[in-house]
Symmetry: C2
Subunit: 476 residues, 2 copies
Amino acid sequence: MNDFADALAKPSATKKALPEELWQALQSLLENRCTRASAVCQHHGSDESSYPSMLPDAVVFAHSTEEVAAIVKLCHHYAVPVIPYGAGSSLEGHILALHGGISLDLSQMNQIVAIHQEDLTATVQAGVTRKQINLEIKDSGLFFPVDPGADASLGGMAATRASGTNAVRYGTMRENVLALTVVTADGSIIKTGTRAKKSSAGYDLTRVFVGSEGTLGVITEVTVKLYPLPEAIAVAVCSFPSAFDAVNSVIQSIQMGIPLARVEFLDENSVRAINAYDKLSLPEKPLLLFEFHGSATGVKEQTELVQEIATSNGADHFEWASQPEQRSRLWAARHNAYFALLQLRPGASAITTDCCVPISRLAECIIETQLDCERHQILYSLIGHVGDGNFHVLMLIDPNNPIEVANAEGVNARMVSRAIAMDGTCTGEHGVGMHKMAFLIEEHGSAAIHMMRTLKQAFDPLNILNPGKMIAWDEA
Amino acid sequence: MNDFADALAKPSATKKALPEELWQALQSLLENRCTRASAVCQHHGSDESSYPSMLPDAVVFAHSTEEVAAIVKLCHHYAVPVIPYGAGSSLEGHILALHGGISLDLSQMNQIVAIHQEDLTATVQAGVTRKQINLEIKDSGLFFPVDPGADASLGGMAATRASGTNAVRYGTMRENVLALTVVTADGSIIKTGTRAKKSSAGYDLTRVFVGSEGTLGVITEVTVKLYPLPEAIAVAVCSFPSAFDAVNSVIQSIQMGIPLARVEFLDENSVRAINAYDKLSLPEKPLLLFEFHGSATGVKEQTELVQEIATSNGADHFEWASQPEQRSRLWAARHNAYFALLQLRPGASAITTDCCVPISRLAECIIETQLDCERHQILYSLIGHVGDGNFHVLMLIDPNNPIEVANAEGVNARMVSRAIAMDGTCTGEHGVGMHKMAFLIEEHGSAAIHMMRTLKQAFDPLNILNPGKMIAWDEA
């Protein structure tokens, strides 16, 4: 945590004034699509986390890959930081302008480039959001499954290796990106792949950039896989005596090869919050929210098997939602859980974190983390994409109370150490940003971090691409 | 093709003698597990391709990651090439010792490190083969699906991003490797990931090394995903009037979301060859070999749908193999296709190649490639993992007849250009090795190749790791 604390303490130490020549060049390139207006800089220097704003010196709005290349080339020439900005929905400080520089807003790059229905692929500009792409293809019988909570941009989702509730069946951005168009640190434009479903032709540049959080290049176009809409969908909610019983039901279902489309765990606190917020009356006990995709008979078979497994693990409430509106209501409640929780303590901020462990260790990791929150009297909720071994903790704190902040960060640090000790990872889907940099060495070891740093320094020798994120420039 | 031709013409131009001090150091480290015996060097300087041997100066057999690290450290000190060697089943010249040096044989690193049944993961040493791992877990109810034709080692499969017949359902090594232990160019040992199913923690070093063909590091351990054995399996063969009809059936099945476990295309020549070799009597027409996995009712449903689709595309022969021995016989025939074809022209060599295109372009790519072979009177067969858009051409030639060699290489070059023009790739699963280096620029463009070269030079500054493969060291 020291890096982050240090950065907060002296954000301006390495911040240089924006060169006037660069500003002039940006203006002649983009005209009214660049600004130093403080409201815009304020907006682009804040994310969805509870961290204080760190403002860029200017914000530019690009409309094409070529414009992005021209902008990066200019910033490269003047050695000024470039921070790619999509929907601004980061939870870990990814888009904060730690060293000032240019916030490169890609949200107006929101064109669908091509839908290849027959090949189940789509190519979109980086600013297209996950809801937008699904709206565009809704009559094609296809859908794009990756769904982080926010309506994030596909460029941002690729950059943070995002996932969400469907990942247990359909994978994360790691599995669903086929190719990217990327502007590299010197302003060159590269394509990292083709639309072929698989390839052994060269280094996997696609996955070098997926999850690189804007620190190796600026993603301007994304080619993703699409999937046929399932013939039948069923949703079930199911309550358990304990988190342990709920997680065991999931493990057993996965071991039997049941192709769960979604399986979300909500702890008692989450259920209480969404009951209040969404006017539901779910039993206030650990709960699983299942979704099944397949043919009508396939879905029936899956649901029967899962109900049997859940019952054998003590489930005492099993409710089906087969009508689309019931289903939507439950999933909306799940997606609103963050806002629902905020209502439990008006005026509080949420510190959020996530980790991911092998599923055999999940119940243990969840329960120990809950006990830790309770020991520190933190108002929290815990929600998990449990089929993947991934869970989130949201802690409601008064950001002006240093004891509460320290307690929450302590829970986070211990949860991460616990996950790593279980052969898991410090973040399953939120990314590193600034908040988890200190944990990377604990997870990967110094030799692997050295290779990551080697990659960063080779791809961005002037350290202009989202500097100060993901990995410290110098060896510790 | 010029790089490869040049390399063949002057392989010894850059070859230095093995330093005697290095040889002494290797001997004291490994005792009788290092040799300069010409028969062993000959064996390690040849692969399954038709290319002439290129011999290493010495062969060493490692037993542990620590030994590999010590060997690489020595080679780094003396700037001597290190060529990782698994099962030697490369088809593209990956393990040829173009610049001499040390062949680092990992086949004796064949220990299972850990099976985590509950988590569906296995960690093995790099020399464990795909058949060995499946034998080890056969009583667990799990299996490992990636199946290139040869009984390759998992280290080699990771290094070439291998796939095979199950990839359409279960993915390739890209999707199935969770983590690697790698020895880097200076002899450091890194772990590239954890056993968590997903992670957003740092650059994806796992996928930097998957498919890097020994040019960025030496893979010594591999952690892979396992899958529950399906409750029911069914196999069907089905003949079509044309390749076009066969491929259309596959596209339509995939668009309907039918989760085909395997779908192999065999052209008339392949069917003729396996009929003769395996004493089968399949109709000598374009053929699809399907496999379905699922519950009993799920498999029944899938097979009925596929039969309906195939019939609507003119299939005139549909045969079920529901007994394990019938199934095994058909798959054995498929896996023997390479050897079956060799019988059609005793004494000939096979030049093999593969490419991969978006499935909507597959029929066109297959048919044009067949016509090209016929135009040049080449005895060939064409077999495809068609659900992925991937196919192989095997051409039987007299290696001493330069016209036949040139004709076959011409077919290969035109097939690759055709695939790239269709937004496909020059190799779906065989890898680059030496044979496809010249096509990488055509596929990726010079700016992307520059980034690949940047990666290689950063990770292996002395160019000791499998030098002369994948990507030329200097800009053209």
